[in-house]
């Protein structure tokens, strides 16, 4: 089944003169290791009423461009020739005082993470109204009223109350709405959105994106929308520029870029975007395949009373990480588990791998365990876990060889003399050269580290591998290759896989079945192909709808 491109973008009238015009702009950072060219001769224009999507991986220079436009560069930045024009005004020629006047009034910015970009000690209202007081010379009272109106426009239901709250009293979505309201507060000509939804949950992200499109449409502001997410950008931007190592490699209308990319890098990027319509796993799991791992009414609670609390007999809130989870995983299956952060999906993985206390039953084949303490080494050998962040999961003080040799020694899998050969074999399995064995983790890239982590998990030839968000800390292109590697390994070894992720597109590409977690409960479990079936849980449907798929595929 092929989905329609669901573009929200509506065509809008075009002014002749660009609001934001970047021409032949270059930027270099002087570092100890020598000069680093962050931006190379960048040309970019954003017209009024248009959204320009700027897409690139981390380190591509996309955020540097935002800082350059806002004239907020670190001391070690050296600018080249080029021009930065805001409605024809040369930003580079402005004095610091003039720039202060322009910021917030003529150019707004929305950051990635509202929880760090809002001051925790000031009320949301104060942080919104201070812009109005500063740039629109409103009195505090007027600013208060105007602030409420602005908040109302961003879809906050009780704006007056929200104004009095502190950041920690608001949800991530509410906070980002406040930030957006602040950016729009002075009707700026241009707003830069720097990954505004990356830190948010899928559904909230979707709402914020919709809000963005609506506000952009209403105000006709020129928007520069920075993101690593091609699928997202294809949905909300009129035009797209792809930036790679400081260079704009391709730009043009969204539709054109996605349907007919000309540049190799763009093509690679497009190919790497998880597309649920391109299955990575071709095998179809037979219904007769035996259940290898079984959870029965498994509940995981957090929170331990401390000594003083116990002395004073005070009640402490118990946090339930996951409750009454029951499902079975069949041999050779890839079971996807999706849910937003805090939904309990990782908690389950940690319980299965014997890291969290649980009640209920966890059973591997015919061996049932009713508490964490019962879990023994043979079980652990057969159930391996791979963590999200390879920086954290590899001991920085051990060489790759030692990291990979450890399970071999621990479970006595190969004789001491055969360890080196086996390590080499394991590295080859994850497509890493043999000489990596001598390296330390910090000498590897993120993708390479995650491959080592995968190799370690597969070293003990386990029956079940738990993959806890193993691709989410990686760049898009690396993500795809790691996912492919995992699927290949899984297919070759017939290992059962629990693939935990928040990326519903990715999971649809590789899972046989998908379990949906919501607030500690498993609300849905279905065959991947049945995702559109009417009996799907309401939350599952919301989740599926919230996530854009790449346009043009």
């Amino acid at each position: 089944m092929i989905e329609q491109v669901d573009s929200l973008v509506s065509p809008s009238s075009q002014d002749a003169r660009p609001v934001l015009h970047v021409q032949d702009y270059s930027l270099t950072y002087t570092t100890r290791a020598g000069p680093f060219e962050a931006l190379k001769s960048v040309d970019l224009s954003v017209m009024r009423g248009r959204t320009m999507g700027l897409v690139g991986e981390s380190g591509s220079g996309k955020t540097s461009l935002a800082w350059a436009i806002l004239r907020y560069l670190p001391a070690n930045a050296r600018e080249g020739q080029g021009q930065l024009l805001l409605s024809g005004d040369d930003l580079r020629a402005k004095s610091p005082g003039e720039i202060t006047d322009i910021r917030g009034r003529r150019i707004g910015i929305v950051f990635q993470d509202p929880s760090t970009s809002l001051n925790p000690t000031l009320t949301l209202g104060r942080q919104l109204s201070e812009v109005l007081v500063r740039h629109r010379r409103l009195s505090l009272k007027q600013a208060q009223n105007e602030g409420e109106a602005l908040l109302a426009r961003t879809g906050i239901s009780r704006p007056a109350e929200m104004m009095t709250r502190f950041p920690h009293q608001a949800s991530g979505g509410e906070k980002q709405r406040v930030v957006i309201a602040t950016a729009f507060a002075c009707n700026p000509e241009c707003i830069i959105f720097d990954e505004p939804t990356t830190a948010l949950d899928v559904i909230t992200a979707r709402q914020i994106q919709d809000l963005f499109v609506k506000l952009q449409d209403d105000t006709g502001v020129a928007a520069l929308y920075i993101s690593h997410d091609l699928a997202l950008v294809s949905r909300i931007a009129h035009d797209v520029a792809v930036i790679h190592r400081g260079k704009i490699v391709e730009k043009g209308p969204s539709r054109q870029i996605f349907s007919a990319p000309r540049d190799d890098y763009t093509r690679m990027l497009l190919g790497a975007v998880p597309n649920p319509n391109i299955r990575l796993v071709n095998s179809v799991l037979s219904r007769q395949s035996p259940t290898i791992l079984r959870l029965e009414q498994t509940t995981i609670r957090y929170g331990e009373k401390n000594l003083i609390d116990r002395l004073f007999g005070r009640e402490q809130k118990e946090v339930v990480g996951a409750k009454d989870i029951s499902f079975g995983v069949r041999q050779g299956e890839i079971l996807g588990i999706v849910g937003e952060s805090g939904s309990g999906k990782s908690t389950i993985a940690r319980a299965i791998s014997g890291l969290n206390d649980f009640s209920g039953t966890v059973a591997l084949r015919d061996r049932a365990f009713h508490a964490r303490q019962q879990i023994d080494r043979p079980y652990r050998r057969n159930v391996q876990i791979i963590f999200q962040n390879p920086d954290g999961s590899l001991n920085p003080r051990q060489r790759v060889r030692d990291i990979l040799a450890r399970p071999l020694k621990l479970y006595g899998l190969v004789p001491a003399s055969g360890v080196d050969a086996k390590v080499e074999e394991l590295l080859a399995q994850v497509l890493l050269p043999a000489d990596f064995a001598r390296r330390y983790p910090h000498q590897l890239s993120g993708g390479e580290k995650q491959r080592v982590a995968i190799a370690r998990a597969f070293a003990s030839e386990p029956q079940v591998v738990l993959c806890d968000e193993i691709t989410s800390s990686l760049d898009v292109s690396v993500q795809a290759s790691v996912a492919r590697l995992l699927v290949d390994l899984q297919t070759r070894t017939g290992t059962t896989c629990l693939f935990i992720t928040h990326d519903i597109n990715l999971v649809r590409q590789l899972a046989h079945r998908i379990a949906v977690m919501y607030r500690g409960e498993c609300v849905d479990l279905f065959d991947t192909s049945d995702h559109a079936a009417p009996e799907r849980h309401a939350y599952t449907r919301m989740l599926l709808e919230a996530v854009p798929t790449a346009a043009g595929s």
Binding site: L307, Q384, R397, L410
Partner: protein, 272 residues
């Protein structure tokens, strides 16, 4: 090491530290005179060609005494710190590893001991076990122990939640292996930093004890004692107070700066 020398505070710290350590290691060879040798004809003199930093009330050469005193002063600071760190680390790591009520108990105890100011705690201990250099060192070590216990515990705990430790747990590794191979090698960094900075506190505490008559005793050349002995004569020859005072400040600053530079290297968060 090269990284530390690039760091401006690290450079100054290393320089001061090198000077002090040089004196501590080779001071007795470098000293122009026997530090206990009297020159009754040249008492309380200012700097001269014969006595570069002047002489004290017995006509002893101040430079020679400072060079000699470097070893006892530095070894006091380092010794007290090492003892304190070792004891604190054992306690803190035990608390961090065993957890549960043992942890609660130890940490409550540590909190209690931390509520007594360092100097007072040291004084109490010295009063119990008696003064003198060795006892004072022991007292400073004991006074450092609760603080170090808390730091080692938190270092262990912060490593313990790291995923590679969890990976080891999930693998079914023994507690001993996890501690020895996974946790400890990654916790020593902050401990080393803290220890380096504490050496400077230990030197100052030792000097203060010397001043109160409870630390090193005559005829030791420990710097704090030199100052307290010379205070009576400071109006007649300010050098006999100033020279060891500067020496203490150099040593304390050296360890302090070096430790801060180490901290910045290990935890680059503070830098932008």
């Amino acid at each position: 090491m090269r990284e530390i020398l690039r760091h401006p505070t690290g450079l100054v710290g290393s320089f001061l530290l090198a000077l002090v350590l040089l004196a501590a290691l080779f001071g007795s060879w470098l000293a122009p005179y026997d530090p206990q040798l009297f020159h009754p004809q040249a008492r309380l003199q200012g700097p001269s060609a014969a006595f570069w930093l002047g002489t004290d009330q017995f006509g002893r050469d101040i430079l020679s005494r400072i060079l000699h005193g470097a070893r006892s002063t530095v070894s006091f600071g380092v010794g007290a710190t090492l003892l304190g760190v070792a004891a604190g680390a054992v306690i803190g790591i035990t608390a961090g590893v065993v957890g549960k009520w043992v942890d609660s108990l130890i940490m409550r105890l540590v909190d209690g001991l931390l509520a007594v100011p360092d100097l007072l705690f040291t004084l109490l201990i010295v009063t119990v076990i008696g003064g003198g250099s060795g006892h004072a060192m022991l007292a400073v070590a004991v006074a450092f122990t609760p603080g170090m216990a808390r730091i080692s515990r938190s270092a262990v705990l912060s490593v313990r939640t790291r995923e590679f430790v969890q990976a080891a747990t999930a693998r079914g590794e023994s507690r001993l292996y996890i501690m020895a191979a996974e946790v400890l090698p990654n916790s020593v960094g902050p401990l080393i930093v803290e220890a380096t900075i504490r050496v400077s506190f230990a030197i100052m505490l030792g000097a203060t004890l010397g001043f109160l008559g409870l630390g090193a005793q005559p005829p030791s050349t420990e710097w704090g004692l030199m100052i307290s002995e010379a205070r009576q004569f400071m109006f007649r020859n300010p050098w006999c107070v100033a020279a060891p005072g500067v020496a203490i400040a150099m040593a304390a600053m050296g360890f302090n700066l070096f430790g801060d530079a180490l901290r910045d290297l290990i935890d680059p968060r503070g830098q932008r």
